[in-house]
Amino acid sequence: MSSPLNRQLLRLATAGSVDDGKSTLVGRLLHDCKAILADQIAHVKTVSEARGGDFDFALLTDGLRAEREQGITIDVAYRYFATDKRSFILADCPGHVQYTRNTVTGASTADVVIILVDARHGVLEQTRRHLAVAGLLRVPHVVLAVNKIDLVDYDESVYTGIAKEVGQLADQLGIADLKTIPVSALVGDNIVTRSENTAWYDGPALLEVLENANGRTDISGRALRFPVQYVIRPQTDDEYRDYRGYSGTVASGTVSVGDDVIVLPAGRRTTVSGIDRAVVSATATAVAERPSAVAGEAVTVRLADNLDVARGSVIVAADSSPGTRRELSATVAWLSERPLTVGARLLIKHTTTTAQAIVTKIAGVLDLDTLGVIDAAGLDLNDIGKVQLKIAAPLAADPYSSNNITGSFLLIDAHDGWTLAAGMIDDEEGELL
């Protein structure tokens, strides 16, 4: 029997146009996996009946008053479930264009994005936008669920038509792994078990695909990147009097005792002298040494030489340092109603560094119809655009395509702290789009 002690977490997000059935699919998936307990079912039954309708699966995730009044999803709902094989974090995202920022939020951490398309309506502008977002975020797996297949009499040709169109878009957007499934979220066809209603479809049900998908491509095999979050100096009168450790989470690669490393932005070389993990009991707070740590693990690293290392420093493998840069070309998803114009002064938050930035160029905006980049003077809400930035501090940055942690950043309004954009650093040679 699997348990959280040996199971792996998979993060899922839904996407697709408004009313295509995302919340219904999530509710159905949870329900059919027996992840909904009796009191929640009773609650949804009561509310559904009070509205004079059938059991509304979407009410399992649409929990805000405004969502229930309007019958749409406004912000991401996170739900959790586990099967014998693994456990899942499910982010049910909104489809409405006004809430794209929330869909980007849900998709940014996803290992799998399930894009729904209403079989009756086919591919819509929001479908294209969400596909572009999934491609841009380099979500490892995309599943196209052609939903409401019950409403087109389980017609195979409708399914094949949509699958073909989305397949072409996915190719254009560089989405490498696309699976396609005909489903009815409402009826439960091909969600947890394969359905007789789609005898012409011989692929797996949605749950089978999810259970077999791997997480973010194993980033422990890549070059070491370790952004320092916080310096730990107990300054107590015990064995830790002179302790000085750099705490953080390994962003990529493996860090081992004895590794030759470079500390950026200073560029100084040193060796890893220790890697510590906390050991705490009811009364004692101590650390234990370990030989190495891999991507995703929160540890504390000690270095052989006494260098100037602080929050904002990044410890990298000596043989594959990204160096630092003060200028970036990047693709951004603009998530604010305040438009972006050339010359704007903003804050950039990149790993553990926050610095001032100036937008020096807006190189274009993604045209959702052609998926090409066209000229633009500025970026508006929900635009996906290409920009160049000049930054007040050197950043130890990688292209997003090789590292989604050292390759991503936020743009923040310096006056009120609002998050304006999600940024992905372009490959040096080529364009991301």
Binding site: Q8, G63, T236, Y240, I412
Partner: protein, 308 residues
């Protein structure tokens, strides 16, 4: 068709509990680095105990660089208060207490007609945040607890009045948590957002974290009300027609003693609780919190006003 996706677990796979632990530790360190006056809400309940355990891990071998704050309803389980005071003393922590009782005594708050006090915690909480100028407030809330909590960010902005605006939350991308806020605003931080009740219990078992004894099966005089087992005590007495009988019970949550229900249980260890929780057919709050049943959006309304 799915063959290309197959990936067997290997030694380098970070498992569920380790992934959750690392995510929480990351959050604690971000806050320590980016805020000036963080505080951890500490009630002595299991979620706040796990939260404190994770905070200790985040900064070991140094101590926790945060103050603790308990918003005390005055309706406490004595075992929980004793646990709280013991932890504070043993770890040399600083504890502030905001007392609902004091507010009632001097008239700033009025006792509710049903006598329960969970709802009354909001004002003392917000006053304490203002008074101490806390800029980051760690809460032990989990998204799996309740449908409004399921919608909340890990870094959740509160305006000058402590209000949450669920329709206008900041985007939260990757693990780039944005803690920027204007003077007077603060950020609620939820390091356990992605933990489920079962994760919490598995973690308590794995880490051998001590808990107040009421979390394990014990005999207690209880009576039934609204399908919950309430303890006979100074704040809750049976009404006419409610009969008192000794039962073997444990608590799944601890809150205001007058409206927190116990569940029948024989589980005397964390490992046994794991088995029970895994087999449970009712959610934690559904089983134990009368105040959450009040209306369809009871929690959302309270959270909008500044509740935990």
């Amino acid at each position: 068709m799915t063959a290309t996706l197959e990936a067997p677990l290997n030694a380098h796979t970070v498992t569920e509990l380790d992934a959750l632990e690392s995510e929480s530790i990351f959050v604690f360190r971000e806050v320590a680095a980016e805020f000036e006056r963080p505080v951890v809400l500490f009630s002595g309940g299991k979620d706040s105990i796990v939260m404190l355990h994770l905070a200790r891990k985040a900064f070991a071998p140094a101590g926790v660089p945060f103050t603790l704050l308990h918003v005390d309803t005055g309706h406490n389980f004595p075992e929980v208060l004793a646990y709280r005071d013991n932890v504070v003393e043993q770890l040399g922590l600083r504890l502030e207490v905001a007392s609902v009782e004091d507010y009632i005594a001097d008239g700033r708050l009025r006792e509710r007609s049903d006598g329960t006090r969970n709802q009354l915690q909001t004002v003392p909480l917000l006053d304490a945040i203002n008074q101490h100028r806390f800029d980051a407030v760690f809460g032990g809330g989990r998204r799996d607890e309740e449908r409004a909590r399921a919608k909340e960010r890990i870094f959740s902005l509160r305006d000058e009045f402590g209000q949450w605006d669920p329709r206008n939350q900041r985007p939260e991308l990757w693990s780039l948590y944005n803690g920027k806020h204007k003077p007077g605003e603060h950020v609620r931080v939820f390091p356990l957002s992605n933990w489920t009740e079962l994760d919490v219990w598995n973690y308590i078992a794995r880490e051998e974290i001590p808990l107040p004894s009421i979390y394990y099966a014990h005999e207690r005089d209880v009576f039934e009300r609204d399908g919950m087992l309430l303890a006979v005590g100074p704040y809750s007495q049976p009404r006419d027609g409610e009969t008192v009988a000794p039962r073997t019970v444990r608590y799944r949550t601890v809150g205001d003693m007058s409206c927190t229900g116990a569940v029948s249980s024989d589980a005397t260890t964390a490992a046994e609780v794991v088995v029970e929780v895994a087999a449970s057919t009712i959610t934690e709050r559904g089983a134990t919190r009368a105040d959450d049943r009040a209306s369809e959006a009871a929690m959302e309304d309270r959270k909008r006003e500044g509740y935990f």
